[in-house]
Amino acid sequence: MGALGQLGDNLAVGFGAALAPVNLLLGIVGVTLGTAVGVLPGVGPALAISMLLPLTFGIDPVGAFILFGGLYYGAMYGGSTTSILVKMPGEASSVMTALDGFRMTCKGRGGAALATAAIGSFIAGTFATLMLMTMAPVLVEVALTFGPAEYFALMVFALTALAGLSQGSLARGLAAALIGLAIGTIGIDVQTGQARFTFGMAGLLGGVNVVVVTVGLFAVGEVFWYAATRARSAGSRSGEARGSVGGPVRLTRADWRRSWPAWIRGTVIGFFCGVLPGAGATVASFLAYDAERRASKTPGEFGDGAIEGVAGPEAANNASAGGSLVPLLALGIPGSGTTAVMLAAFQMYGLQPGPLLFTQDTTLVWGLIASLYVSNALLLILNLPLIRIWVQLLRVPTPLLFAAVLAFATLGVYTLNNNIFDVGVVYVLGLLACVMRRYGLPLAPTVLAVVLGPLLEQEFRRAMAIAGGDPTVFVTRPLSATLLLLAVLAASAPVLARRRPAG
């Protein structure tokens, strides 16, 4: 009871701070900017926050963090829009949304897809904040038990999601994943400091950014493909999508029934992935998609406009944002690029995140937590009416729309490192996407492999080095062994039960 009373007091302080007119105003600005940042390909919340940092000098830290928190959550909301409407995810964590979201748009159900994404994001964000508030100390202990062996096992488990992404042909899915693994090895190796596959190009030393891969394969690739095929076939895939604006924006009764469990599952998966530093939003969205496909009675619908395929991953990537605040606030460990910038922001204000922050700076921590609830509500209010406006995008003639997409993609990728080399890389990847499409290779496994490959490799090597080269470390540690067992089960189940014809 005492603990509950304490929580109540803290929340009262927090909401007092979050609802102060100035802070509320900053929250509104944060979510609006965040939504814009999420919609633009390439521009992420980490960059936006670091750009805003100098402007927030001299204002109250509570206000600054309310602005940043709103921006972070807002960017997670906005990421789904371009995925669903034009199949052009701006971040790796929205790739899964593009698969079924875009098919729904083709069937005139783009509005419903955006609605399930927005409501799912609201639910996920709210529950994630609730879990952050009540369970942070416990979750921190769980996160710390994850050593290299456990991370490796988790990544192996995540790789099994591949089978679900292969859309019929496992061989093609594997080929696509191998391309991704190859891209993932480019750059300086963390363990030895040696350059791999850089061909003497300084621009490749840092590796290929996942955002560059995502934007290159999906957005730029789609534009190139359209340009290459339009002359010959008027009814290209992107062409089909046009003119399907008329569908209802509201969710039907069936949509609600199918979305609910997906939102809940996505929230839980996303939150826990977010808590683990390094796993993050992308792994969360892949696992959530896979979970939905496995839970569904009609897995054949996946990849062809299943609403769960949008609801689950969208809930997951939003919940992971809340989850990643757990190690940040409770330990001072950033679990994502955005939280790394937020950590720097804390330090600029002379604050050290960590267990002491919760007791020493009650107004700040609880103000931030309360503002996350407020941001979520604001985002729902902002985004539901916006859906009607977003779907109007589909009325824009394809050549104009795609020209704009190419311009924004170029600009967004350039701003990542202010490096023109990255723009070249994104065009090369766009061409690669055309070649892959020509031979029927799916693109999502490539992105999954680019994210998972480096984690898989580095954690494997760390675990082996710590164990003195003894490979049994993966099966003698209980958590690692359990995860590997789950991976084996997950990988063998669809092979045994495969009934769908290939192709």
């Binding site: 402007l55 001299g58 038990t145 300084a202 030393l205 840092g206 002379g350 760390r462 710590i466």
Partner: protein, 337 residues
Amino acid sequence: MISPNLRAACLAIAIAATGCAGGPQGERPETALPPTAAGYPQGAVTLIAPANPGGGWDQTARQIQQVWTETGILGVPVEVVNRGGAGGTIGLADLVTRYDGDPRNLMVFGQVMLGSIRTNASPVSIDQTVPLARLLNEYEVVTVPADSPYRTIEELLEDFRRDPAAVSWAGGSAGGIDHILAGLIAQAAGVDPRRVNYIAYSGGGEAAAAVMGGHVTLGLSGVGEWKAYIASGRMRPIAVSSPERTGDGVTPTLRESGLDVVLSNWRGISAPPGTDDETREWLIRALEGMRESEAWQRILRANEWEDSFLPGAAFEAFLQNEVATVDETLRAIGLIR
């Protein structure tokens, strides 16, 4: 005086109105240095942080920006751009090639970059730039998990000498300052540095998690960076790499523990090649003005950074010395030939 609330409200409205970042373009403040005879600096000065947002160089660049902006020493706006990748050598290459002769672009860098230049076989090197000043020292701390049996570094090194492979050292990326410290400690302890079982993480935060979770034997990072983790009681400091005790005043130095190792993760600032002497002097004066400000001293204290201001030619001589030391250590570790 403008109240923080009013400033916040103005900020919110300004961001909402413009939708992007853009500093206020006011009159030249009275505290500003008069421009050079050649008129430098006409227009904004850009600080290149050769790293992604969030790291030490980014943080240093933004702190300099903050103090220069608040005190108005330059009389022009100050911007920070991140040019991350390849241990900072991408940013260095930009400074040397793209901004050759344009001293309105400056670069923040530090000890770690000297290592990256060698391990990345960078085509450009630091002696092509015009060094302005060393600004600060950050010393390293050696920690063990809270439940570790080791109380002192001597105890730990005893086991290390017996079986080097059984002791795992967590720190930042290979060839960085943490790795170099591991190599120097091994050398001082009489063990071949190549036998250090070094577990590289891409950041101090990840390495800290490995230490706090008890997955490695010991961890290495900056004193300021790990201050909060140590305060939380999840890891214990057993040595610092400074010449004298710092911070808590309790943790012994490596020297006190019988190891002749002092290592500082210093940070400094350089101008592009082709910067004329007059401009260089002007920039050094601007840095001196920053150093003397209360705001800068406060930042140093908050981060447990040591004021190690060393301007111009003296910094250049120091750099040459450092390059040689880093080279030698990397060779001993076996990272370069």
